[in-house]
């Protein structure tokens, strides 16, 4: 396929890449390329380092020009950064994906049944499967919504479940993001630039498309509209252009052809939501909200919220407007609830989890707490309701004072901490500065699941990569980057 002269002395890209002491996505422990990467690697090897470098720079420049950026909190000067994009795609063979897809559908189904249950009969609590204390003390449990019927009984409309692989390549769920998971715009933009950069490679590899995500999202939003509305008006509610995911909000709104609104654009009268337009007030029926429950309505939740819409909860209760995701899903994001998801799957579906959890210890169980406090140096401790890599202790990499600090926190508030063993995440070849040029870096995977008339999982998702050597933290706010994720039509 390539006519490049073989006399070139230049070292082939990826030639000396090896797995090291980790599970590597591309090569096995003996250094052989896994079948589903073979075709990609063959095509990729025909590139010279210079060609690759040119492609890389032009992609970076394009991202900056197009404003594919995220905002960094607490950084006023260079408030905008591009989310670093690594050109080597992460590849998942069809059969592996099929299992993941089933696992994700199973999980979101169980979570949804769980949410419906705890906001209604609370059978799972009464049957003693989950100690009631954990649910009722949850920071994001909204007792105001007990016995409230959400439209079509769907709570989590959009879910971004984080998956990781351990040192033997087993997939595990790291956390469920059932509130407003972000990052899907990078999936779409990454794909777009990969197609432009490697058109031939792309065609030959046989990659499942992701471009229909916005349509699926819109279809779901229209599905949950209040009954009796022939042509529902759907809007996306953003906290505004200083939010870290603002690019994504405008991107999705544009792709769906809906208005992107801020709280101040909306107004509630007679328990109906309207938007202020140049031609007066116009009714709104469905809101894809990208702000948390707490900020949604100053008359119900945080009174100091400037982002929300006074009265919107009243309109929601009256059934005149629908929200995605529903109010109260945050309890499913609680890391203590995560511990119970396998039990939920068993209880509601009578199945075993297809994708297991990471082993987890609850600090409020005496035995677990003892174990946690004795092994702080080995464990990863997480606060139950933080995200984005904040509120976390990486035991093996922490300093003494940090460990002491967490010891105190755990002892004073055990309900809000869990601990997990340090998982050695799988690695993926990634372009780095320096001699070797490609080195293994740790990755995770966030697939996006839409729960509407049926459950749709976008093929692949966002592969995040920790660009710092040996780092296990993939969050964009902490030096992470992303990769395109290819789900193949076949297994090679």
């Amino acid at each position: 396929m390539s006519t490049k002269s073989k006399s070139q002395p230049a070292k082939r890209l990826l030639e000396h890449y090896g797995a090291g002491a980790f599970f590597d996505e591309m090569v096995n422990a003996r250094g052989e390329v896994r079948p589903h990467y073979q075709q990609f690697r063959e095509l990729f090897q025909t590139l010279t380092k210079k060609e690759f470098e040119n492609k890389r720079q032009s992609v970076d420049l394009a991202f900056l020009r197009q404003g594919v950026t995220f905002n960094v909190y607490g950084d006023s000067a260079g408030a905008e950064k591009i989310f670093p994009f690594d050109l080597l795609p992460r590849i998942i063979p069809a059969s592996e994906w099929e299992t993941l897809e089933r696992g994700l559908v199973q999980r979101i189904t169980a979570l949804n049944l769980f949410l419906h249950d705890i906001y209604h009969e609370q059978k799972i609590l009464k049957d003693g499967i989950i100690p009631p204390f954990y649910v009722l003390s949850g920071k994001h449990f909204r007792r105001e919504f007990v016995n409230f019927n959400v439209p079509k009984n769907i709570y989590i409309h959009i879910c971004g479940t984080d998956l990781i692989r351990d040192d033997t390549g087993n997939y595990m769920v790291l956390e469920d993001n059932g509130r407003c998971p972000s990052g899907v715009s990078y999936v779409l933009e990454n794909r777009r630039s990969m197609k432009r950069t490697f058109p031939v490679m792309f065609e030959r590899a046989g990659v499942r498309p992701v471009e229909h995500y916005p349509q699926e999202l819109l279809k779901m939003l229209q599905h949950i509209a209040p009954s009796g509305v022939a042509a529902p008006t759907v809007v996306l509610l953003t906290p505004g252009c200083y939010n870290s995911a603002y690019f994504e909000h405008t991107y999705l709104a544009r792709q769906m052809g809906i208005e992107i609104v801020e709280g101040r654009d909306l107004l509630v009268r007679d328990a109906r939501v309207f938007m202020r337009t140049t031609k007066g007030l116009q009714p709104v029926h469905v809101i894809y909200r990208r702000i948390d429950d707490d900020f949604l309505d100053p008359t119900v939740f945080r009174r100091d919220s400037m982002l929300g819409v006074p009265g919107i909860v009243q309109a929601y209760r009256a059934g005149n407007v629908c929200l995605a995701n529903s109010i109260g899903t945050g309890i499913a994001d609680d890391k203590v609830m995560y511990y119970f998801v396998p039990r939920m799957i068993k209880y509601y579906l009578d199945q075993d989890p297809i994708i297991p959890n990471v082993p987890t210890y609850l600090a409020s169980e005496e035995a677990d707490k003892k174990y946690i406090l004795e092994n702080l140096g080995k464990l990863v401790v997480k606060a139950a309701n933080e995200s984005g890599g904040y509120g976390m202790l990486m035991g093996p990499k922490a300093t003494k004072p940090q460990i002491q600090d967490f010891r105190k926190k755990i002892e004073s508030d055990p309900r809000n901490f869990i601990a997990q063993p340090m998982i050695s995440l799988s690695r993926h070849p990634t372009r780095v500065d320096g001699e070797s040029y490609f080195e293994g870096r740790h990755v995770d995977l966030r697939p996006y699941i839409i729960y509407g008339e049926k459950i749709v999982v976008a093929p692949g998702g966002l592969t995040r990569v920790a660009l710092r050597r040996d780092s296990l933290v993939v969050n964009s706010s902490q030096g992470g980057g992303s990769k395109d994720t290819w789900v193949l039509y076949g297994d090679r």
Partner: protein
């Protein structure tokens, strides 16, 4: 369309147009000074201060600088972000507004505006500036003109687009009037320029500079001939019917855009923005430069700028943030409504 979006499109264009016009003003003044020899610092200040005055930011300027030297003024008008109307600030503001309405503009438009933003935000801008200010201004003007072309050629001409046109022409009319004011101001009391008579060499140079800063040099020559006469220049920049940067042209376009938004025919009005714009068009159509000089050009321009401001404010009242309560009041309204509903529910 959302009121906030209309507002952002309007301001985005005001800021783009503002950046371009400030580039024009400063560029021309720099070039003009090349023609003069033996200027001492005081004489120089005479040429730079009016520029600051024309932009209406004199107070802000003297908070940041002691004297109106060339360096201070150019720094203030080009780079200083403490000045909300400097070129860099304007481009940042334009982009900030564009970000808020990213879904309303095309990718080409956004990329160009973003490119201009990264140009002025990186050291590259200083480098170009140090090598050749003229080249720097050229880049700013080119960006603005390219954006203008993209706006016309790639965006759908819907309601939002007409809001952007209102912003563009309102700002341009305002800036043309201010550029004209610059040329008028330094002329000392009793000089020929003040009486609208013929001018000496220096004045001629100055007035040519004014024309060039509006890209009006060639157009003026073809209509008024080679003689650069302040009266003709003022007439041309205020009242010419066909020149796209004259005040009359801009106000007529602005009036047209307002009517495209509401659908109300010319000669009628449905809100006070249309009323004021229509009135100003008529006034500009039926005025002569002689009358203008009788009142005094400066005070005429002053009034003109006030009228333009009033149109902007009236438009805001008509279309943007209808009945926008503050948060506390709104919370109160909601609580009252909920009380009433509670009462009806419990009365069963």
């Amino acid at each position: 369309m959302l009121s906030r979006v209309a507002n952002s499109l309007y301001w985005m264009w005001r800021y783009i147009e503002r950046a371009e016009n400030i580039a024009r003003i400063v560029d021309v003044n720099l070039q003009l000074l090349l023609d003069f020899r033996n200027l001492n610092e005081e004489r120089l200040a005479l040429y730079w201060l009016p520029i600051v005055q024309a932009t209406g930011d004199e107070q802000q300027f003297f908070q940041l600088h002691k004297k109106a030297t060339g360096n201070a003024v150019t720094e203030f008008l080009v780079f200083q972000t403490e000045n909300p109307n400097s070129i860099v600030s304007s481009i940042c503001q334009a982009r900030e507004n564009a970000r808020m309405v990213r879904d309303q503009i095309t990718i080409e438009f956004w990329e160009e505006l973003n490119r201009a933003y990264w140009f002025v935000r990186t050291p590259q801008a200083r480098k170009v500036w140090n090598e050749s200010p003229s080249e720097f201004f050229q880049q700013i003007k080119n960006s603005s003109l390219l954006l203008n072309g993209l706006n016309n050629a790639t965006l759908i001409h819907n309601e939002g687009w007409w809001f952007s046109k209102v912003g563009e022409f309102l700002e341009r009319a305002d800036k043309t009037s201010r550029i004209l004011d610059v040329g008028y101001q330094p002329a000392p009391e009793g000089s020929p320029a003040r009486n609208g008579g013929n001018t000496g060499e220096i004045d001629a140079l100055e007035w040519s500079a004014i024309l060039r800063s509006c890209s009006a040099w060639d157009a003026y020559k073809s209509i008024c001939g080679a003689e650069v006469n302040p009266k003709f220049v003022a007439e041309f920049l205020l009242f010419n019917v066909d020149f796209p940067r004259s005040v009359r042209f801009c106000v007529a376009e602005l009036n047209y855009a307002l009517r495209r938004i509401s659908g109300v025919a010319e000669g009628r009005f449905c809100n006070s923005a249309e009323k004021l714009a229509g009135r100003l068009v008529a006034e500009l159509q039926f005025s002569t430069v002689e009358e203008t000089f009788e009142t005094g050009l400066h005070s005429y321009l002053d009034q003109l700028q006030t009228k333009l401001n009033n149109i902007g404010n009236a438009m805001f009242d008509a279309y943007i943030f209808q009945k926008f309560n503050n948060l506390e009041d709104e919370i109160m309204v909601q609580q009252e409504e909920q009380q009433q509903q509670y009462r009806t529910e419990t009365s069963y």
